[in-house]
Symmetry: C2
Subunit: 350 residues, 2 copies
């Protein structure tokens, strides 16, 4: 992605350090974190300096590299397993983290020599990151075919370049369609409580020159009723075997609204977001985050600190609301989801 | 209502001054504005120091009193008509303002003497305010009959004592049910962009000791899906002849969600909110407010000032989504709405 004209990746690995754009400082400051301690990587995921399922996945695999660099060359195996566990526990809902950690750690299952292990796991992590960026491009190419002149697309949260290694999931089709000259515009939900829509998605679209309007989460229903939204595209944090999707809180609401108005509702997500081990949305753990995310904006309280809150970070959109899954293997409707799952299972066993 | 143990009205008239709780300073500061200039009253409505359809209505009628106090005793009639127009134009969507202005100005149609006019219009404005508080009590009594032990009620925006002269519309049934010992709890939508839920409704319920949880607007759908919401009650800014309701942006979304989950959706509103001259929701003007309400929280920008926005303040919920209208004359379903309208028309012609 380009930020102020400079080509940059959300998650990168340079000079043995993990580089992350600190998303808590965006859009006011483009600060690149350079991390070489496992504890800092776990912290970055927990406090959402890095967020978005594919970005967290890539960060996790680089986290193992960082962990291994810190460990004793003669006694690293148990330490690396501990690092795997602490990275896995850093956020519970997105499955890309587990998928990427598993792929990275599996690549050195048979390796006992430290230097060899470090070499291979670094290569694997870089490969995961590059593949993720490539997948996003392909998602963009397939998804752009769904966008026509005159369309107005609603998106929720940030499933842009900032939620991935690069290029984005939900925003990828918009990038490609815009490059191809399709005339469309975007409604961006601000996405309370953490305002990923206003801070990140609107910022990305503004940087690209793609026409958009930022709205409060309450306004999407109104614009659908007025016939001003022709399509919804969001990302996903985890897609269960039956096609149910866990994504940012509020996604389910947009899906219900889309159904009520007969508007197609698409999920854009790479293979790493599909969870072949979770049967349905009911089995996906929903992270409950601190109520201060609602009581404060930034560091400032917007109401009294003693106000009681409930703050689920995600919700589950049942498969019946979803028109199609836009992936790097094409666009799949629910009745063709098993085809995609076969491709993914085959890929995993290779 | 009681705030920190002190009995207080949202809109009051003392020593020839209009007293308003400044709602932009709540919940951090309970500041009582004492206004004796028409321009300050118009400003208070525009910048939402006073808000909520019934509170704006009462403020409008007192605004005419304030205007008359300022005018030349020998040349006041045109000035009062100008005051009527500038008050009416201060906010476009809520109809209580027009209804209350009309009632106050009609009370002196035949009067030419200044002192007599001032005496009568002051009496009328006080009567409008007292009647409004009484109506809210009755709304509470009728509405409380709908609330049962174990219920969990979602409310949107603030339709509490702070949106009325006193006692509230949507919150009135909760106040009475709580007094009666019914065991229920409330989910409070924070209600972006102006956070009336977190700043006002949660504050009121907290003051009363009624159990509640503040949630982001994105979370209501999730809790409905989980079976944790049994009823929705909101206020209204204008109810058209066909039963369509204009209310705070996001109300329509909650109504669609309620329908999808088979949850009853009630509107609580006094007679003054019913507009017998507007046929349907399509005819209700929707106020578009400044985009800075989205870009800023308080005085602090949450994203870049150059981000493009769209900021409708209200939406329209079609009658088909509404289970019942809780009024001071009882609870009316859509098929009995004409009965209510006959009562209101008769009252208006008296």
């Amino acid at each position: 992605m380009k930020i102020y004209g400079k080509q940059i990746r959300t998650v990168d690995f340079k000079n043995n350090k993990l580089e992350l754009i600190d998303q808590n400082k965006l859009p006011f400051e483009v600060d690149i974190l350079k991390l070489d301690k496992l504890s800092d990587v776990v912290h970055a995921i927990k406090v959402m300096q890095v967020r978005g399922a594919p970005a967290i996945g890539a960060t996790g695999s680089f986290g193992l590299v960082i962990a291994l660099q810190e460990l004793d060359k003669n006694n690293w195996i148990q330490g690396l397993n501990n690092a795997y566990e602490s990275l896995l526990a850093s956020r519970p809902t997105a499955v890309d983290l587990k998928n990427c950690l598993d792929e990275a750690i599996s690549s050195i299952t048979e390796v006992t020599e430290y230097d060899k292990a470090l070499e291979i796991i670094t290569e694997t992590a870089i490969e995961i990151a590059n593949r993720s960026a490539d997948s996003c491009h392909k998602i963009g190419e397939y998804g752009a075919q769904l966008i026509n002149d005159g369309d107005s697309i609603l998106t929720h949260c940030n499933a842009g370049a900032l939620a991935t290694v690069d290029f984005g999931t939900a925003l990828a089709p918009m990038r490609i369609a815009f490059e191809q000259g399709t005339k469309f515009s975007v409604f961006v939900d601000e996405t309370r409580p953490r305002l990923q829509g206003s801070r990140l998605t609107a910022f990305e679209l503004h940087q690209e020159g793609i026409p958009y309007k930022l709205i409060v989460d309450n306004a999407a229903g109104h614009y659908m009723q007025q016939g001003k939204i022709s399509m919804v595209i969001t990302g996903a944090d985890r897609i269960a075997l039956n096609g149910d999707v866990a994504n940012k809180i509020g996604t389910y609401t947009k899906a219900v609204l889309a159904k009520e108005h007969g508007i197609p509702f698409y999920i854009a997500a790479p293979a790493t977001t599909f969870d072949l081990e979770t049967k349905s949305g009911k089995d996906i753990p929903i992270e409950e985050r601190d109520g201060d995310e609602i009581l404060k904006v930034g560091s400032v309280y917007v109401t009294l600190p003693e106000i009681e809150t409930a703050n689920p970070a995600f919700d589950v959109t049942p498969a019946k609301y979803i028109t199609g899954y836009i992936t790097e293997y094409g666009v799949f409707s629910i009745d063709r989801l098993s085809e995609l799952q076969e491709i993914l299972a085959k890929r995993k066993s290779n």
